[in-house]
Symmetry: C2
Subunit: 421 residues, 2 copies
């Protein structure tokens, strides 16, 4: 596909990378307590047995409209924070929905259409995932219905507008269109909603409407699709004649962090390269630092399969004043195992710290980061200012832009500090 | 400056193009009724005597951070509107402030710093220009003060947040910090503000604070700086092995339209190529179709020089329900003459038409257009669907993104139609 003067097609990976298959990593299986598997496509649940999984042509064509995404050295930012390190960032926000979520929404919609579905449903916290499913559904002529966590919808009304422009039906969760929503919609303590509940609503709706469920993290395909981020980064770092010593990403369910890290994790695990991987959480929702590694549901209504993962518990509701995403109680199962096995570190920051980091980045590099991505920036600042890291190279994932998140930055600048973080 | 894997530097023009000097076009001079010339830099007022004006190195360095901007063929959009034409668009929204306005804000801030100014002031309607001055001022270590038309600020509060993140002081106009603001701030009919009044406030404030005035359109340098858009487009169209038959841009003051058109206008005027140039206005503010070609002020308080231009009158206040930009009563003096001499056509559309066009474009091409830019898209649709234009090539300027303008799209989708347009 001709994208004008910038001939970028050569750099787009033609296959996703399956670390699990490549290194024969054994994950404990999903446990279906109910037979809800009809709402998932096989491609999404299973992954494959090969290290490289061919990307279908219709998916590649849509990838080619925005990939490869830029990988830049942050010269101005390095200077502004007195960095001891070289800092690189992979920017996943320059696409029709503004975040990395599009990388898996496109193949999910493609597989849904291929498997005969007419519609998709999903749940969204901060709205990035809902926008991505709305866009991908539109491209593959599927109807989409998005359950948007009520408190986030109020904070980010324009995310809803964006989805509606793409033809999506957007429903505030808890809603009255599902039985589990009805059970919760009259409880004042639950009216803000949370990702666990919105997920239950979307799964129930998918079952009753014979739709497919747009999967945010627990199905293996999601993290597989995101490996395009890291695969491109390896080639792009080569063009800088460099290789990262530290790879950093923010984590909710873990998909952008996994996307950039997994292709590099092979070097650490199989080839014993000395690379650090830092997963950055909000203090309000620290699944890795404060959760348990055990079987749990992805939703509060227990409609999803049970997954062996790090979890804060499927009934966990993060403080509603926490404006950004990264509010999921669980964590990707492959990354959970890798964290458990000591290949990944975790850090957590509070809201004030991350908004300050985001503003500093915008002033230097000209991109307003999503508050989620600003977690990775905050960690980058900390590592870059350590004398011990002198001359090291840091690569972080700038997973999305923050043009729909300026109310959060506004609160921060007005010193409307959060009591908790 | 190294921008990663996409080596784009070779395509950036090293000089601006001065059609006026090249074709010896005589413009009637600015008439200063008051000696306010101290708030302007010479570079901005005068332009030069040469066809090509060297771009200073510090400006080129900042241009290199986002230029050349992409020029794309809109395959999906062509299909979705059953186009008889090839449609190309030059996208100026992918930069730190989201519109073409940055192209002149950077050199204006550079010249201000070079001439010893410590601060800039300006007026902004929809907020694009204020963001650009805030960004450029930050880059050249100048203070910035932005007078933001009250009604627009209410509709686009996040534009203010963006400016504040860059360290700008943002003041709602009419304000109480200038004498002309005070005169108008208590009049209920004037409390919404307008560009003429905000400009007066910014000029008065520049005089009293010994600041330079960030110039939106009447100083010659503005349109000169924007010619980078058209200069790049010529080279990029060559790479498509094509040349436009029709060039389209939205117009308020005329700078993005002028930027893309002026380098092509040489082919029409000097070499008699058969190219049409279409300037697209909102029906609520049709300066070309309904204004007069005469000397007028750029502001309602008569603090600016008088300019020979198309104007609706310096006291003109567009209907406040008109949400987008393109609300200036006047028009760039060079383009005014070219329009007067018959080299340029004008069209006007109402709000409903342009929002529908913008949504259709987003669904096909994945970019939400600024409502301003959607005027150019609406005109493109009209021309592309004419059988008489079969096989012609249309090039339009997509001057900015609409991620801060979703309230307008939301109103449209909710059928909250405007009574007037």
């Amino acid at each position: 596909m001709d994208k004008g003067v910038i001939m970028r097609e050569n750099f787009i990976p033609k296959a996703w990378y399956d670390l699990r298959a490549d290194l024969n990593i054994q994950l404990e299986p999903l446990v279906f307590e109910r037979d809800n598997s009809s709402i998932y496509t096989d491609e999404l649940l299973k992954g494959s047995d090969h290290a490289y999984v061919k990307i279908p042509e219709p998916v590649l064509e849509l990838y080619a409209e925005y990939r490869p995404t830029p990988l830049r050295r942050a010269y101005s930012f390095e200077k502004s924070i007195n960095s001891y390190c070289k800092i690189y960032y992979k920017y996943e926000g320059d696409n029709p929905v503004g975040s990395h979520k599009i990388n898996t929404a496109i193949p999910q919609a493609y597989f849904a259409q291929k498997n005969g579905f007419n519609s998709m449903t999903t749940a969204t916290g901060a709205g990035q995932w809902g926008s991505a499913i709305a866009f991908a559904s539109h491209k593959f002529c599927l109807k989409s219905t998005i359950f948007f966590v009520n408190i986030s919808l109020k904070q980010k009304p324009y995310r809803k507008v964006l989805m509606e422009m793409l033809g999506a039906q957007v429903i505030s969760s808890p809603s009255t269109v599902t039985s589990i929503g009805k059970l919760n919609s009259t409880d004042p303590k639950k009216k803000n909603g949370n990702m666990g509940l919105a997920t239950s609503e979307a799964v129930e709706y998918a079952i009753t409407q014979k739709a497919t469920f747009g999967e945010t993290s627990h199905a293996y395909g999601v993290i597989l699709h995101q490996t395009v981020i890291g695969l491109e980064s390896i080639k792009q770092m080569e063009m800088f004649d460099d290789f990262p010593d530290i790879v950093i990403g923010c984590v909710g369910g873990g998909t952008n962090f996994g996307g950039i890290s997994i292709p590099f994790l092979k070097y650490k695990i199989a080839e014993k390269h000395n690379i650090r991987f830092i997963a950055v959480e909000p203090k309000a929702n620290s699944t890795l630092l404060h959760g348990d590694y055990k079987y749990d549901y992805a939703d509060s209504g227990k409609l999803t399969p049970m997954i062996k993962m790090y979890t804060l518990g499927h009934t966990h509701t993060p403080d509603p004043i926490h404006a950004g995403g990264l509010r999921y109680h669980g964590f990707d199962p492959l990354l959970s195992k890798l964290y458990h096995d000591g290949h990944i570190e975790a850090q957590a920051y509070d809201q004030r710290e991350i908004f300050a980091a985001g503003i500093s980045f915008y002033k230097s590099e000209g991109i307003v980061p999503a508050p989620e991505s600003s977690h990775a920036i905050r960690s980058t600042i900390e590592e870059a200012q350590k004398k011990d890291n002198k001359n090291k190279s840091i690569l972080f994932c700038l997973s999305g832009h923050g043009y729909f998140d300026l109310s959060g930055y506004d609160f921060y600048m007005k010193n409307l500090h959060y009591d908790k973080n």
